[in-house]
Amino acid sequence: MFTIDRDAQGAVVASGRLDAAVAPKAQAFLDGVDGTVTVDLAALDYISSAGLGVLLKTQKRLMGGGGRLRLVGLSPHLRDIFVYSGFDRLFEIAPAR
């Protein structure tokens, strides 16, 4: 089960499993954000390369307009994957909001 939405503070909150099956849904949602956006991943259990691809594409688009994604609340498992893929160098990763 994967969900993605904006909360009352305007942050994007993603939860569940972001895999190849739901990557198009995540992409469609993130195609609609602008500027600098905080993405809360505290409830995200799992991410594969398909999910990383969604974040990469969104980051490239936002950086073109001077914005970016700010990722918060990564679990140790997720953090490992960001490190192994070098994505920790491409995103600002904060422990919490």
Partner: protein
């Protein structure tokens, strides 16, 4: 107590003496003290010079007199002499002049130099009418015993009988209690050496059971890891009671020590056998199974010293292969050498069943043995169940069979099951991804795989499966995935048929330090797999056009991967 109107002088002193004996009914005296008390009371109440008590030994129908501590008691057949006559008739015999009575045996007088003039002989019969013995009171101080003395003596005798009988029964109870405690202690020693937990062994499910019979039997078992191997032991000492319980425990301890010190199978078996041959009584021996499981080569080598049958369920053929003993029971005779051990290969789904005689030889009310066929039938029904379920079913099957006939011997089981990999096939579509996740969850639970490896395995399954879907569009075959437990982790295999080769191990590495402009999502999945797996192997069969990717994950491997990142050292897996 029988009161007689004709009694002339039952004074307070006499009464107190009788009541004193009555009171002592409850005193925790041993037998000889109680006898002394009884005789003293009789002498006092009847104003007699001497007294003695013969106890009746019903087992041999003899009268026995305890003379003194350390001296063998005097025994005589229950029909002999005045005491014997009294025991037979259970009536008081009052002899005013002993030497005038033909039943009187003067040998005691001759031996002691004492002269018996008159004698009152009284049966000691308890409340339940059981003859406890005979009391004799000798030489009333002023004349002979009269009718009043007889009445008084009868009252006293009834009390004495009850007191003595109680002491005798207490003594028997104490003896029984001592025996019970000794048995319990032996049982405790026996139980304490049984392994408290099974070693965890990837790809194997080892179950054990030890159900003791009420009296100590002589079974034991052991399952222990020695280096990479697993030592399996089941022993059954002949007989019941303390000695077999202790000797089988000794055998188990010696085997454990021998293997821990690096002895091979034959050396351990021969040395323990020879030591037992030295120490066990000549009529004692221990039937035993001593085996070594190699969980990498999936082979079991064993010696069976008179322990049998050893059953090997061969899953592929759905049959049982029965193995007999390779040697004599342990301790039966010294051995200089052994024949080659029996060797068998355990394929996935195979079972090795080592059960003690208690299973096979349990009888029902008609004395029919439970037997091998019934064991095999239950095992076949549950051939895919866990070893614990299987053993439980065997015990329940035996209980139903015995139908309350009572357990006759210890029942001990060591069951080794080589697990079958968990396998599934998936349609070649992205829609199958949730089914992949469910499959991994089920496989991890069934194979008891460390849950911390789940993320890495899920990632590999998804990445490789999606690659196979993307690049294998020409194939209509399902994609097969299998998982098996390995030491400390899991082995995952994906098989894709009717496809062109796609070797993930041959992909160029992703430059993780590249600036974002040049980063692309492609190749990232395979890169992550190679970072997170302990090993990745690729095979392609050109005939079946089949790609097989085999991945291994362990806790150690994942810790090393994390550490490598922390060190900033280069990718250790590439």
């Amino acid at each position: 107590m029988e009161a007689r109107a004709s009694r002339r002088h039952l004074d307070a002193y006499d009464l107190e003496a009788i009541l004193g004996v009555t009171q002592k009914l409850a005193a925790p005296f041993d037998l000889s003290t109680m006898l002394t008390e009884v005789v003293a009371a009789a002498k006092q109440v009847l104003d007699a010079e001497r007294g003695s008590v013969w106890l009746y030994d019903a087992d041999v129908d003899e009268l026995v007199m305890e003379v003194a501590t350390g001296i063998a008691p005097v025994r005589m057949p229950s029909g002999t002499g005045l005491a014997g006559a009294c025991a037979r008739s259970r009536a008081i015999i009052n002899v005013p002049d002993c030497y005038a009575d033909p039943r009187f045996d003067a040998r005691v007088d001759r031996a002691t130099g004492y002269r018996t003039r008159c004698m009152l002989t009284l049966p000691l019969v308890d409340h339940n009418g059981v003859l406890v013995g005979v009391m004799q009171v000798l030489n009333k101080r002023d004349g002979a015993f009269d009718a009043d003395d007889e009445a008084l003596a009868a009252a006293l005798a009834a009390q004495c009988a009850v007191a003595l009988q109680r002491v005798r029964m207490t003594g028997a109870l104490i003896e029984g209690e001592k025996m019970r405690q000794a048995l319990e202690m032996a049982r405790e020693v026996q139980m304490s050496t049984l392994p408290s937990a099974m070693p965890t062994l990837a790809g194997y499910d080892i179950g054990t059971a030890f159900r003791p019979a009420e009296l100590t039997g002589g079974d034991t078992y052991d399952v222990s890891r020695v280096d990479g191997d697993v030592v399996l032991v089941l022993g059954d000492a002949t007989g019941h009671g303390i000695a077999p319980a202790l000797s089988v425990t000794q055998m188990q301890a010696m085997l454990r020590l021998a293997f821990a010190m690096g002895a091979d199978l034959a050396t351990a078996f021969i040395h323990v056998n020879n030591r037992l041959a030295d120490t066990l009584a000549d009529d004692r021996f221990i039937t035993a199974f001593v085996g070594i499981l190699d969980p990498v080569e999936h082979r079991v080598r064993f010696h069976s010293g008179g322990q049998g049958p050893i059953l090997h369920y061969v899953a592929a053929r759905d049959t049982f292969v029965r193995h007999g003993p390779t040697s004599f029971p342990l301790g039966a005779m010294p051995l200089a050498a052994l024949p080659a051990p029996t060797e068998l290969a355990l394929a996935p789904g195979d079972l090795l069943l080592v059960l003690s005689d208690g299973f096979y030889e349990q009888t029902d009310a008609e004395e029919t043995c439970f037997g091998e066929e019934r064991v095999c039938a239950i095992v076949r029904d549950l051939r895919t169940a866990t070893s614990a379920t299987l053993i439980d079913a065997l015990l329940r099957g035996i209980d139903a069979f015995a139908a309350g006939a009572g357990q006759q011997d210890d029942m001990t089981a060591v069951v080794v099951r080589r697990e079958t990999p968990v396998e599934a096939r998936f349609a070649r579509t992205f829609d199958a991804i949730p089914a992949l996740v469910a499959f991994a969850e089920d496989a991890f639970a069934r194979l008891r795989i460390d849950p911390s490896l789940r993320t890495a395995v899920d990632l590999a399954l998804e990445e490789l499966f999606t690659n196979m879907v993307k690049y294998g569009r020409g194939s209509r075959a399902d994609i097969a995935i299998a998982m098996a437990a390995i030491d400390g982790g899991v082995e995952v295999a994906l098989v894709d048929r009717d496809v062109e080769p796609f070797d993930p191990t041959g992909r160029p590495p992703v430059d993780v330090e590249a600036p974002i402009e040049s980063r692309e999502p492609g190749g990232l999945g395979v890169h992550l797999i190679r970072r997170m797996a302990d090993s990745v192997e690729y095979e392609y069969n050109t005939v079946s056009r089949e790609s097989r990717i085999t991945l291994r994950y362990t806790r150690r491997g994942s810790a090393a991967a994390v550490a490598a990142v922390g060190d900033g050292s280069p990718d250790v897996h590439d």
